[in-house]
């Protein structure tokens, strides 16, 4: 194939790559601006007679946190049980099955509790928030807020951000407890270790930093979910199809952001 022809074939791919890169930078910039404005209204809203309504924060906490608690608990329990099953099976070769207890405790509190929680919240609330703001955008409700002198970011983003910062650590603690319980049930069945003994050994194995690591991550992941979901909602255009795309994009971007941020965190906090 002639060099000219190869170059002309590669050009669209390179152009697309460039466009995507610029788009990504724009999205990150937009989310950062949204974060800064949201913090501004949380801190300074009172002076502009635009304080963040506490009732709106509680409503978001109910939607994001309380209503997600059952599914987070079930999935975390199942995840803890699976980790125990796989761990016992793997450690059997080394005759170290009892080491499954610190392994489950540490991996759950440092990693999997917060990860399960974040993925559930991203799928559930991330999609709902993007869809809600997108619908409002298309129905001119956001314009209506602006002409009423109500800052849309203060009204729509700040309560979500505050609610995420409160409920994500709580859900993470719930997920940690349920996953450890799930591991305990399997350990009891397979290794005949009683639950009180199991819990004692879990508490012995855990250091405060293990739990803190998960909680710090939950704050970061909650912020990411709030910003990605709201920014996708604000940029939704093109009717029902556009709304569907924005919702899907929101979930995919939330989960991608969580996993990448988790990798970076784990690298710096563990190694």
């Amino acid at each position: 194939m002639p060099v000219n022809q190869q170059a002309s074939l590669m050009r669209p791919a390179i152009e697309m790559l460039g466009r995507k890169f610029v788009e990504t930078i724009q999205n990150v910039g937009y989310s950062a601006a949204l974060f800064a404005e949201s913090l501004f209204w949380i801190v300074c809203g009172r002076w502009f007679h635009q304080k963040v309504q506490i009732s709106a924060v509680f409503e978001e906490m109910m939607n994001i946190g309380v209503k997600a608690a059952p599914i987070v608990a079930i999935l975390a329990f199942a995840n803890g049980a699976m980790m125990a099953i796989q761990g016992i099976y793997t450690l059997e070769d080394f005759g170290a099955q009892s080491q499954i207890i610190p392994a489950v405790a540490m991996s759950v509190t440092r990693e999997f509790g917060v990860l399960i929680t974040s993925i559930v919240v991203a799928g559930r609330s991330g999609a709902a928030i993007a869809a809600r703001i997108g619908t409002m955008n298309m129905a001119q409700e956001i314009d209506a807020l602006r002409v009423m002198g109500i800052a849309p970011v203060r009204y729509l983003v700040s309560p979500v951000l505050l609610a995420m910062l409160v409920v994500m650590p709580m859900l993470t603690i719930l997920a940690d407890v349920m996953a450890i319980l799930g591991g305990g049930v399997i350990t009891g069945m397979e290794l005949h270790i009683a639950m009180p003994v199991y819990i004692d050994r879990v508490l012995l194995a855990l250091a405060p930093f293990d739990i803190a690591q998960g909680l710090i991550k939950s704050l970061v992941f909650g912020t990411l979910i709030a910003l990605v979901a709201t920014s996708n909602g604000f940029s939704a255009t093109g009717g029902a199809e556009g709304l569907g795309k924005a919702t899907t994009r929101s979930v995919v971007m939330c989960i991608a952001a969580i996993v990448i941020a988790d990798m970076i965190f784990t690298f710096f906090l563990t190694l």
């Binding site: 129905a139 001119q140 314009d143 002198g149 109500i150």
Partner: protein, 273 residues
């Protein structure tokens, strides 16, 4: 308002647009728009689809910053206001959007009370009384506990009008108030606009393409075409205009346009359409 013309010669306009221009990419949407609206009058901005009238309204509401020109409302350039001044400006205007733009998660009463809740320190009872009064003004008394989804199209527009009125604005903006309504409901809404102007002494700016409605309510009409103002005048002046484009609009005659299919496809692939 029969003495509108007299007023225009002696009073400073409440809305003053000078040299407004704006582009969308390479495409000019509004060009050299000059407009004066006087206190207490009903100004109708009329034009066909794509004439730029809704865009002009968005600039008047301060939702976008123009590329060129200025918009002075209440004697101040609305695009040079700081955050606090912008909030104060927006407390003085009310807007009824084309689709109503009511918040679907709230009841009609909550929608109407929203500006009060955000901008005043009134207690809940007072806010309820005020919202009921505004709902009575638009003939929606007793509907405050329904959600927007439970209302007809005409009722949604009237509820949106009640919300626009709740802060007792000085200027009311309407975007296509008759769009999607049957003639009887549209006529009711026109009467309501006239009554409101007389009762509350508000200035009204209406964007519409409905000729019947425009001629019924307008003190003056601005005719917009492809981003240019063709003329501003009284209803009779517009009716008797000899401008062929205005006559086309009034007689609903489409201009003959020969569309070159190859040219259209070429523009489509270049993303220009």
């Amino acid at each position: 308002m029969n003495n509108a013309k007299l007023q225009t010669e002696s009073v400073t306009p409440i809305i003053q647009v000078r040299g407004l221009e704006t582009w969308y990419g390479e495409h000019k949407i509004l060009e050299a728009v000059n407009l004066d609206v006087f206190a207490g009058e009903i100004m109708v901005i009329m034009g066909g689809s794509g004439s730029g009238k809704s865009t002009l309204l968005r600039y008047l509401l301060g939702l976008h910053k123009p590329d060129k020109g200025s918009i002075n409302i209440f004697g101040k350039d609305i695009h040079s206001l700081n955050s606090k001044q912008q909030i104060e400006y927006r407390k003085k205007i009310g807007v009824s959007f084309q689709g109503g733009a009511l918040f679907n998660s709230m009841t009609v009463g909550e929608n109407v009370r929203m500006p009060l809740r955000e901008h005043t320190a009134l207690d809940e009872n007072t806010m309820r009384i005020m919202s009921r009064m505004k709902l009575e003004v638009v003939n929606l008394a007793g509907y405050e506990n329904l959600t927007p989804a439970q209302l007809s199209g005409g009722m949604v527009k009237r509820a949106a009008l009640a919300r626009a009125l709740v802060m007792d604005p000085k200027i009311l903006f309407f975007d296509e108030p008759s769009a999607g309504l049957d003639p009887v409901v549209a006529a009711d809404l026109d009467n309501l606009i006239l009554n409101l102007r007389d009762a509350m002494q508000v200035t009204v700016v209406v964007v519409t393409h409905e000729l019947e409605s425009a001629f019924k309510i307008a003190d003056r009409i601005t005719v917009l075409d492809r981003g240019h103002i063709l003329m501003t005048g009284t209803v009779d002046e517009v009716r008797n205009s000899e401008n062929s484009r205005i006559q086309n609009l009034l007689t609903r005659t489409a201009e003959e346009q020969v569309i070159d299919a190859d040219d259209y496809l070429q523009r489509l692939t270049e993303g220009a359409v």
